[in-house]
Each structure stands twice: as structure tokens, then as C-alpha cells.
Amino acid sequence: MTRERRIALLGLLVPLGIIVLWQAAAMMQKTPLFPGPGKVVVALWTNYPVILKELGITLLRAAIGFAVAVVTMIPLGIFLGRVRAVGKVLEPLMDMLATLPPPAIIPLVMLFAGTGDGAKIVIIAYAAAVPLLMNTYEASHSIHPMLSKVAKSLHLSRFETMRLIDWPSSLPMIVTGARLAIASSLLVSVTSEMLLSTNGIGTYLQRSQETFKIDAGLAGIAFISLAGILVNAGVFRLEKKWLFWHYRDQRPAE
């Protein structure tokens, strides 16, 4: 067995150890309010249809909010990045926006829009908007000066330059922003459901707490983690596939 694999296997001892400690602590507490890992697995098995259904709702809202942010923020970011006069002056506004975390706007949105889908999507869109805007702006205004020289020397029109050179070269940074935005969307989707409970996995967690079903709640958390891992891994795969040229774009092969 290679050293790599040996380390990978031995490393499993850490999470296993934690689970063992957890089980021991649960057995010592002896209360249904502190379930051990065994109970959580059982709850997972019995509840997974419900959990998956609720999770689906959460993911759908996250996707819609993310889409709204993409459609609005990428053009805006490009505009602010290219029209330097406007972009430079409005930079402090963007920085100010970044200091206001999404949970802080939830009560306000609740006042405006109640607790329904619309309210949650607004909050999710806000959370996704910040990294998307900042990264798109950054990518658009820090395009390497050489590229514009190359474009001109190849006799490209302004529009052609934007489409064929600026856009592909900005993509890596924009996609990084999108990856952060996707993670944010998921996070905030769950959080918004916990504070504005109607449906979704966040509401499921709240209900589990209200009915003292801690094991079901922990099972729900496990699924949230799984969803996050899968989505992030998927995005990463797509990134590597479309932007392979950026990640290999290091020193020449000599």
C-alpha cells in the first residue's frame, strides 16, 4: 500500500474517534435530547424521504436566487469594470455592501415581503450577489493590458474584443465568484428557512427542535452537509472542465 493510501485510511481514525466519543457521551447523558450516532443513523433511515423532499425545496429556492443574482450582477460587474469612471467612484459602495451580511437583512425583508418564497429568494439573491459582483468587477477591470494590445494588433473591433478576449480571460475569476455565490446561496437558503419558517429543510430543523426530535434534526443536518459537498464537488468538476486552460496556465513546459 502506498504511503498516500495508508495516510488516507489512518486518517479515518479521527472522525471515527469523534463518533466513538460522541456515542460514549450520549450513553452517559442518557436523555433523548442527546442522541448518539446510532440513533441519528436510525432517524436518517426512517426520515429520509421527508428530508429529501424538504431539501429539494431548499435547493430550488437557492437555485432561483442564484440565477437572479447571476443575471443581474454579471452584466453590472462588467459594466462597472469597463466604464472605469463609474466603477472607481462606486467602489466604496460595493465595499459597504460587503460589510452587511445576509442574515442582517432578513428582518427587513420580512417586514417588506413577509415570509414566503419571494422574501427568501430576495435574501438568497442578495447573498449570491455580493461575491458575484465583486469578482466580476475585479475580473473586468483588471484585464491584463497586454490583452488589449493583442486585440488591437489583431484588428479586432471593440465588440469583438469584449466577446472573444475580455470575456474568456475574465471567466476564471467570475467562476470563482460564482462558486462562492453558490455556496452562499445554499447557506442562506437554509438560514432563511429557519428564521422565516414555511417549508424547506431549515423549517424541518426548527420543527424537529420544537417536537424534541433531536435525532431527526441531526439527520437533517447530515443531509445538508451532503448536499453541500455534492454541489461544491460538482461545481469544482465543471470548473476544471471548462477552465482547464487557466489552471494549467503556469510556466511553459520546459
Partner: protein, 259 residues
């Protein structure tokens, strides 16, 4: 001086003026009902009211301190774990499994369950904040320690440093800038974790206060408190940056030097 340069120099006041100005315009136009969109003076008055009757100050302090202490605890724990991980690859892998599973979970999700296991006080906040905030400093620390160049390490060995000495005198200082990047990110997360915990299970703090005011339909206060949350973020980041300059000023100078 032409207009563009002038605009750039004055951009912070311009932005502030833009925000306040358009706000007042929207208010004056009455497009949105006043109970949802109060005028700036109304917000200012309400804010002042909260300040002077002491409710906001204590909430502010509570929230800020929770975020700060949580951040410090998470940073220290993260760095400690990173050092241990640097010494033991097995431990590093093991913790990686744990962080991969825990990182995607929003802090809010932990709160309902943690309330049962840890009650409603400091232990709850400490648990939730640290569970969520420890990862950026830890992950950055591990990457930075592993990424210290062979040239620096060999130089250290040449000066007779043991492995232990190498860690403290060469690797850790070299890793500090990247660790601080992680701490800056953690500062944002820490504040979010505190606010969200206060909203869900709190009895004090700004998070709790915002929801209380929202339920009481006191919109001006809600806006005022949102502004406060943003200021908290700026303050926390400011503190982290101060420490960063003191501890890694050499790196900042190096990075900011023009070509």
C-alpha cells in the same frame, strides 16, 4: 484637475451622498409606504433614541464581544490544529475529513440542536461560532505551512535549527500572512454566526434586537440596527487588520512594493 480625478478622490463622500440622496428621493416620492421606508431623519432620530436609552450600547457590546472572542478562540484553535497537522499527516487527513463534512453546514443549522445540548448561554455561542469559524484559519494554516519553500527551510537548517525550531522560527512566520487572510474571512463568518444565533435562540444582542424591533414593526430602528451590524463588521475587520499589520507588516510591505 479634471472631473474624473476629482470624482475619484471624493468617492467615499460621493457614495454616501448617493445613498442618502436616493433614499430621500424614494421616500419623498412615496413609492413605498412610509412604514416600510422611513426618511433618513426618522431613522437617525430612532437610532439616537436607542443609543441614549442604553439598550443599543449593551446589545452592541455583547454582540461585538461575542464575535471577537469567538474569532480569537477559533483563530488560536485553528492555528494550533494547523501546527499539529503539519507535524502529523495522518492527523491532517483526519481533520480534513471532519472539515469537509462540517464546512458546508450553515451556523444557523447547528443552533436548534445545540440549544438542547448546551443551553442558551455562552457555551452555545462559543460552540456554534468556533465550529464554523475555525476552518478558514485552519485550512489556510495547513496550506501555508506546507507551502513554505525549500529554500527557506534549507536556510534554516543551515543555521542549525532543529525541526521544532524550524517550525517556530521559519514556517510559522512565513505562514502568518496566509493565516491572516483566513482570519479576515473568519471575522465575517464569526459575525454572521453570532447574529444568526442571537436571532434564533438569543435573549440579548443585536441579532435578537433586530427581530424584536421587526416584530414590533418599528422599521426605523430596524434600519438603524442594520447599519450597526455593518459597522460591527468594519470594526472587527479593522481590528484584524491592525493586528495583521503589526505581525506581518514585512509581508504587506513586500507585496505592495511597486515593480
Amino acid at each position: 484637475m479634471n472631473a474624473a480625478l476629482l470624482a475619484e478622490r471624493l468617492r467615499v463622500p460621493i457614495c454616501i451622498a448617493l445613498v442618502l440622496g436616493s433614499w430621500q428621493v424614494i421616500f419623498a416620492l412615496g413609492v413605498v409606504p412610509e412604514k416600510y421606508f422611513p426618511s433618513i431623519p426618522t431613522i437617525a432620530v430612532a437610532f439616537w433614541q436607542m443609543l441614549t436609552d442604553g439598550t443599543v450600547i449593551s446589545a452592541w457590546a455583547t454582540t461585538f464581544l461575542r464575535a471577537l472572542i469567538g474569532l480569537v478562540g477559533a483563530a488560536v484553535l485553528g492555528i494550533a490544529l494547523a501546527i499539529l497537522s503539519d507535524l502529523s499527516p495522518v492527523l491532517s487527513r483526519g481533520i480534513r475529513y471532519v472539515s469537509d463534512v462540517l464546512q458546508p453546514i450553515p451556523p444557523a443549522a447547528f443552533v436548534p440542536m445545540a440549544v438542547f445540548m448546551l443551553g442558551l448561554g455562552t457555551k452555545l455561542y462559543a460552540f456554534v461560532i468556533i465550529l464554523v469559524t475555525v476552518w478558514p484559519p485552519y485550512l489556510n494554516g495547513v496550506a501555508a505551512l506546507a507551502g513554505v519553500g525549500p529554500v527557506q527551510l534549507n536556510t534554516g537548517r543551515m543555521f542549525g535549527l532543529s525541526n521544532w525550531g524550524l517550525l517556530w522560527r521559519v514556517k510559522l512566520p512565513a505562514a502568518l500572512p496566509e493565516i491572516f487572510t483566513g482570519i479576515r474571512y473568519a471575522a465575517t463568518i464569526s459575525l454572521i454566526a453570532v447574529i444568526v444565533s442571537e436571532m434564533l435562540a438569543g435573549r440579548d444582542g443585536i441579532g435578537f434586537m433586530i427581530f424584536k424591533k421587526a416584530f414590533a414593526l418599528r422599521t426605523p430602528e430596524v434600519f438603524g440596527l442594520m447599519f450597526l451590524v455593518a459597522i460591527n463588521g468594519v470594526l472587527l475587520n479593522g481590528l484584524v487588520n491592525l493586528l495583521r499589520r503589526r505581525l506581518t507588516g514585512w509581508h504587506i510591505g513586500m507585496m505592495e512594493r511597486p515593480e
